[in-house]
Subunit: 186 residues, 2 copies
Amino acid sequence: MANSSHPLGPVDYAVLGLLRLSPRHGYDLVGEFDAEAELGDALRVDLSNLYAALKRLERRGLIVGVVERSGTRPPRHVYHLTPVGEAEFERWLIEPVRHNRDIRLDFVLKLYFCLRLYPERIEDLLARQLVAALNQIQRVQTELNQLPVGSFRWVLRQMRLGALHGTVSWLEMVRNAGPEMKTPRA
Amino acid sequence: MANSSHPLGPVDYAVLGLLRLSPRHGYDLVGEFDAEAELGDALRVDLSNLYAALKRLERRGLIVGVVERSGTRPPRHVYHLTPVGEAEFERWLIEPVRHNRDIRLDFVLKLYFCLRLYPERIEDLLARQLVAALNQIQRVQTELNQLPVGSFRWVLRQMRLGALHGTVSWLEMVRNAGPEMKTPRA
DNA sequence: AGAGCCATGTAAGAGGTTACATGATTAG
DNA sequence: CTAATCATGTAACCTCTTACATGGCTCT
């Protein structure tokens, strides 16, 4: 009843990542997803969605909430990762994204948490994603060569190819900026 | 009861576009969204989703289905656009997409249907989207200049800027390929 | 006294995904 | 005779979005 096969989304991993940094309760987390916060600049999440995500992650056994009462105010649910949740987060963190469209959100999250949690693995993260992108360029280029110039499919492949080259340039820029890159904060 | 404020998605507009070309029934449409079809190369839709989309569009008054019986087999529902549906489709078609991430899917659909329905308006479609992209480049560049080099936000803006430049190059390439571009087909 | 922050949620409505159900016709 | 094609859907489950509900505390 716990493990539906639905894959987790960016919101789920972002919550896992924040709880990995330190156990927190829902209301305390929401500030990180605000427009002013660095994380919120990449991914906006409001309270309703945040509470939904916490419920979901707890239902799936990736986090556990501990109730903390304090006087008359509503009790806080302070969540922390379970071993399963921790394993899942670590697995996700270094895995390159499959589709170039996921660079914008998923990969950026990996970058954010890798910078804060394991800055020494940034090189590795970037290298893996670069390899993935270069492989995709190979494949798309091959497809492109077999398509009639000016056909609709050809136009689409040109777009994908351009996007992939953009990704490669950006990844290389991030890698070279590495030394001066700051650890993101709230 | 018909007009919920939920915006239509790419699937809805693709279905509207196909029905604009000629009235069809559900099963007849699904082939267009197959991997072998040009449209299916950009947007994959299976039968369940297609039937759901047809129901949705009819509920909202954008299309109407006419039942066509033929012997003992299940009756076909042949759908065609209502005036409202036609107006909505035309409005959508020339409107540039707001976010660069929507180029990949929404704009490609506009391009596809514009090529098949109004090839003479392709120039206009491309020009409008180019203007939109150049404006966004201006805005992002301004933001970028105010951010500390190497900060997380700065890295994200660099990514967006690269993606926007890629879009501009691609749009210009499509515009220049214009003369030789083929009208897409099944 | 009122605004805003702290802290939790539920409810309603829509949409996406996958699987399942039904049955005739046609091609090999 | 068996597989694919024609042609329609429903059911179950999950997610997303928006709105609504509750109430104390703190600061001005």
